[in-house]
């Protein structure tokens, strides 16, 4: 009987709990509990001081009547739909080219991927400079072609375009790498069979590569969508949501309501709306993965 008495750190019923404890405690304190608190805050009126006052769904009613929130919602979708399809096209185009044997392949691949490594703040800063209305390179190039300079950061018609163009530069390489992995999983036999059947490069791309990349398409699309919906750093650095809310997205709205205006209830309600949208994307992604 003596042998059965092992210290608790040797007991295989207890050890796993010790191992998961640090992680689970952090999760509980900084993820699970905050999530429920968020749902609760979305139902109260509170400025951070004093006691929260329960007001039911008033915050939701308020934000869905708030022009700025509706504009932020619209801007979020605009940003997502302006970036995601073109990012996917650029990414797949580069990936296909870089998957064939071309000179300087490694160099080109690294160069195109490099922007994804740099912090979004730096990206935003450099592009603020490049899009500068008086001293910027882009306006210089426009002038060369006989066009007027554009006030990128302060003209409501162009601010979103500036952010979108910057996103192309920053995110193409990241998505390209996912496509490259997808391409590398396509077997050579399939490609050779298509060649023997007399398919040209375009036909191989259109009828063999593209359908076989179906999983990758869904994956890249959802990842890019999620990134677009979450993107805070770039907009905060470049425009802070301005001019006149032209680039304000939901995440900017949540930040501003909470930390500039101290409307914790409204901010939480907007956060919950964001949460619901992310869940929809997640379900789409898991459905798509299951089908395969």
């Amino acid at each position: 009987m003596e042998e059965k008495k092992v210290p608790f750190w040797q007991n295989r019923k207890i050890v796993p709990y010790l191992y998961v404890a640090p992680n689970m405690i952090l999760f509980l304190c900084f993820m699970i509990i905050p999530l429920f608190m968020s749902f609760y805050y979305s139902l109260v009126k509170w400025n951070g001081l004093g006691d929260p006052k329960f007001i039911g769904l008033d915050n939701y009613i308020y934000i869905f009547k708030d022009k700025v929130f509706l504009q932020s919602l619209g801007n979020t979708f605009l940003y997502a739909f302006a970036t995601v399809p073109i990012l996917m096209m650029l990414a797949i185009f580069f990936a296909v080219l870089l998957n064939s044997k071309i000179p300087f392949r490694g160099f080109i691949r690294s160069a195109i991927y490099m922007p994804a490594v740099v912090s979004t703040v730096v990206v935003g800063t450099v592009f603020t400079w490049i899009f500068h209305d008086q001293l910027g390179l882009i306006n210089y190039i426009l002038n060369i072609f006989g066009r007027e300079s554009i006030k990128w950061a302060t003209d409501t018609r162009f601010a979103m375009l500036m952010v979108v163009l910057t996103t192309f530069w920053q995110r193409t390489g990241y998505n390209m790498v996912i496509y490259l992995a997808g391409l590398q999983s396509i077997s050579h036999e399939v490609m050779e069979a298509a060649t023997i059947d007399g398919a040209n490069s375009w036909q191989k791309f259109r009828y063999v590569t593209m359908p076989l990349l179906r999983n990758t398409h869904v994956f890249v699309m959802v990842t890019a969508l999620i990134h677009a919906f979450r993107n805070f750093d770039l907009i905060y650095t470049m425009t802070k949501g301005g001019p006149l809310n032209a680039t304000k997205t939901i995440v900017m709205y949540v930040y501003e309501q909470a930390f500039n205006k101290n409307y914790y209830g409204r901010a939480s309600a907007a956060g919950v709306v964001l949460f619901v949208m992310m869940m929809v994307f997640t379900i789409i992604r898991f459905r798509a993965q299951k089908e395969n």
Binding site: P22, F30, I108, T223, R230
Partner: protein, 278 residues
């Protein structure tokens, strides 16, 4: 047949020229940062901009660091990144091992809960986390920047997947040889998951070094600012000193560029394996 091959060739050459051009477009902003950083101030305000500076003022780098308090910001960023990475690797290896190789009550449930948080954007939980941090007194400290984001499902998910590949026989053999449970972890498991550790390190370093939003909501005193927060404040200032901000930006990307160049292969593979992190 002959026509199509020439056509194919032309298309291929054009495509190559195009992608080479795109690679240059990708690299150009880095060049532009460097040129702006070392230009004399007078040339910053020249329009049309000078693509090649008349004089090179390398001392701008040192001046920028001093003028904008960047030494402090760098020190803070190094502290935050180092400890975040250490904590992330430790807690995820341990928990990943337990979830993969032990049976215990509530295992499936706990893992499911963690997994379901994978897609929750930080903006959804940041207000409560901010309040909790204030209550327990870690708001406006480096600890407040380090700890809360460690609750993150991606690392645990990766770790468990990776640990599944370790053969159970290996662990049983060690047990028969009289290894303690912790020795099995430290002497058998850890040395066998080097690639996992490097993926975790790369991602955590990149994320934490580059992150703006957690430091932004957690910190209010200048002495605790991280590099990204300092840069973002400079960029938002009324009067922007482009020499300084480009010098500081360039210095701030050196650590991640070094990591990228060293671990390029792991990077690309890890990236493809995860994608989830966005």
């Amino acid at each position: 047949m002959g026509v199509t091959t020439t056509q194919n060739k032309v298309v291929k050459v054009l495509a190559f020229v195009f992608i080479l051009l795109m690679a240059l477009v990708a690299l150009f902003p880095f060049y532009w940062m460097l040129v702006t950083a070392v230009k004399p101030v007078g040339e910053i305000f020249a329009f049309p901009p000078k693509l090649w500076p008349g004089e090179f003022h390398w001392e701008n780098f040192g001046l920028a660091l001093e003028r904008a308090n960047f030494f402090t910001y760098f020190k803070n960023s190094v502290i935050v990144t180092f400890f975040s990475t250490l904590i992330t690797v430790c807690i995820n290896l341990l928990a990943g091992f337990a979830f993969s190789k032990y049976n215990f009550k509530g295992k499936e449930f706990m893992f499911l809960i963690v997994l379901s948080t994978l897609m929750i954007p930080m903006q959804v939980i940041m207000i409560p986390v901010f309040i909790i941090a204030s209550r327990i007194g870690i708001r406006n400290t480096l600890l407040g920047v380090i700890i809360p984001p460690c609750a993150e499902a991606f690392g645990l998910f990766m770790s468990r997947q990776f640990m599944n590949d370790i053969p159970n026989e290996l662990l049983e053999a060690a047990r028969i040889d009289g290894a303690t449970e912790f020795q099995i972890f430290s002497r058998i498991v850890v040395p066998n998951v080097r690639p996992l550790i490097s993926v975790l390190v790369i991602f955590t370093v990149m994320w934490r070094w580059n992150d703006l939003q957690w430091p932004l909501i957690m910190l209010s005193s200048d002495k605790y600012f991280t590099v990204q927060l300092g840069l973002s404040n400079l960029n938002g200032a009324q009067y922007v000193n482009w020499n300084d901000i480009m010098s500081a930006s360039l210095i701030s990307i050196i650590p991640v560029l070094i990591i990228f160049l060293i671990f390029q292969r792991d990077f690309v593979e890890g990236m493809a394996a995860s994608g989830i992190k966005g």
